[in-house]
Symmetry: C2
Subunit: 362 residues, 2 copies
Amino acid sequence: MQSVIEATYHVRGDAQSIADRARAIAVEQSVEMPLDAIDDAYVNAEIVGRVLDLRDLGNGTFAVRIALAAATIGNDAGQLINMLFGNTSIHDDVILHDVELADELVRGFGGPRHGLEALRQRVGARRRALTCSALKPQGLPAEKLAALALRFAQGGIDYIKDDHGLADQAYSPFAARAEAITAALRRHGAATRYVPSLSGDLDTMRTQIAVAKAAEIDTVMVAPMIAGLANVHRLMREHPGMAFLAHPSLAGSRMAPPLLFGKLFRMLGADAVVYPNYGGRFGYSPETCRAIARTALADWHDLKPSVPVPAGGMTLDRVREMLDFYGADIMLLIGGSLLAARGKLVAETAAFVDAVKAYPYG
Amino acid sequence: MQSVIEATYHVRGDAQSIADRARAIAVEQSVEMPLDAIDDAYVNAEIVGRVLDLRDLGNGTFAVRIALAAATIGNDAGQLINMLFGNTSIHDDVILHDVELADELVRGFGGPRHGLEALRQRVGARRRALTCSALKPQGLPAEKLAALALRFAQGGIDYIKDDHGLADQAYSPFAARAEAITAALRRHGAATRYVPSLSGDLDTMRTQIAVAKAAEIDTVMVAPMIAGLANVHRLMREHPGMAFLAHPSLAGSRMAPPLLFGKLFRMLGADAVVYPNYGGRFGYSPETCRAIARTALADWHDLKPSVPVPAGGMTLDRVREMLDFYGADIMLLIGGSLLAARGKLVAETAAFVDAVKAYPYG
């Protein structure tokens, strides 16, 4: 096999059957047919998946490393996920744990255009964590969301993202929202960035980006598992001036979060990756969250680092703990817990921002 | 709440905590913030999700029925799945079990343009099961795939789909494949249809459909969970003459298969839905498979029925069992097991076709 993808699956099984199960995955994710019916020399040598390694992890789980041909992928992100995990995603004994890709494949996808340093520069931050909040609840008209955004900006927040439920609904159309919110932020005059959420098919998302650009927005959010990886990749390549936050909606699957967020979303071009932090409303462990952040920031095929954005039920009283845990290379997102301050939203936001700025980064 | 979506989740939990957990899901899938911080009357009355019903299913599982506002969706299939299951997909104690949608929402999406009867008419079948096989392995050049397709057609098969791993690879580009295979089938002269697999972003899939149309192809396959539901819906609405098979690649998730394949894919416009049959390489139970087929075919908001296509390790010796189980309104897909006949592929295909035609449909 010439150019190789090495996929590592974690498979529940026993020592007697694991070798067969590993071979079955290698076949499923490549030629998907009985090998003794293949008489083509090229297919046998270059396309059929191969088990490279089996390792007993204990607790009835095995790490199975499989070589897949890069020739099956081209540079299509949808086809990448199809060949890595398409049919095997339906087997509930298997997790897609990690992937190593050829350098030219990773560089071909391109990675973030902006990444950590550019997202800092845009808001005038030096080496510190970035701050973010979310516009909610959906159902509010654009003017009320703009009033909220203004108060976040008055509190000094760096980034204000749409709640991922905000789309192009009648009560707050995308264009009306983009115009009202950016107008409010311009009048205020701070560097605070509004990050609207894209939705719909590729054409609709392109139209939304055009609207965003017209409103001088330079950062948008998209949910790759809903939009489709290939469409997200296309958008990211088409709009080099735009920074992209990736949202984890519909990412609940048997793909390891550090791989999905830290490698795959980053490889497509996500400048920042939102994920559920430990100790909030979701069940990720501290170890998983640390692995997501480290993977998104790691030296990897010369890609720019993606900013980790732990979120999902975060609170002001956890800022110090999170900075101790993650360090400076992070964007902290506190949404509902700031909004719960209601009449004191500006002060609560300022307290969040001050806590992040005052932290003694090492 | 005016127009309502009723989503039923199956949640692992206990009697003490399930009411709180249900309310948390209703909030997560609607406003995603503390309710006591919402002072907007419209949002409180019309947007906040509401728990309608809790039912103990035994074994530590509860059915939780939640009302979500149709106003949050518009007619965007991506936003539909976002509001039904976006963040909750990340919680591993929850399955999205079923959804009831307002009639105007379902009709707005449109459903299959063709469905069961049209797929029968295209291949001259009366009231019997349809037959299908798959072109594999990937890695073969277009000419070898065309030679295989010809032999399937000589055996009398109705539909020949691409293996879902076939994309637009250098060894068998989409256009070369479409031309070579349709040329071979035209020379043979039977009604057999070639069903190429679409891949890539929305623009790429549109280009592939144009190539397919130029080759007089009238049926294509797409994997909605990879392409993104909104993009698939757009394609299906843009090409009313084209019939679409939906492939389950990347559909391994905590969404119940009868809902995903039989309702959601069908509602977008899938004329047929491929899914892993019981007793093959995948773990779906007979009950799950029966529910998928019944849901895809059921009277539901006046949509045309989607053809159920059980697949994934099916064999000739199971044809009678499968027809006993499913009846006439089905497309049987036998792939690798026919190809394993190698030199006797035409005869093996003919035996499959004969068994399906000779079955005493009631």
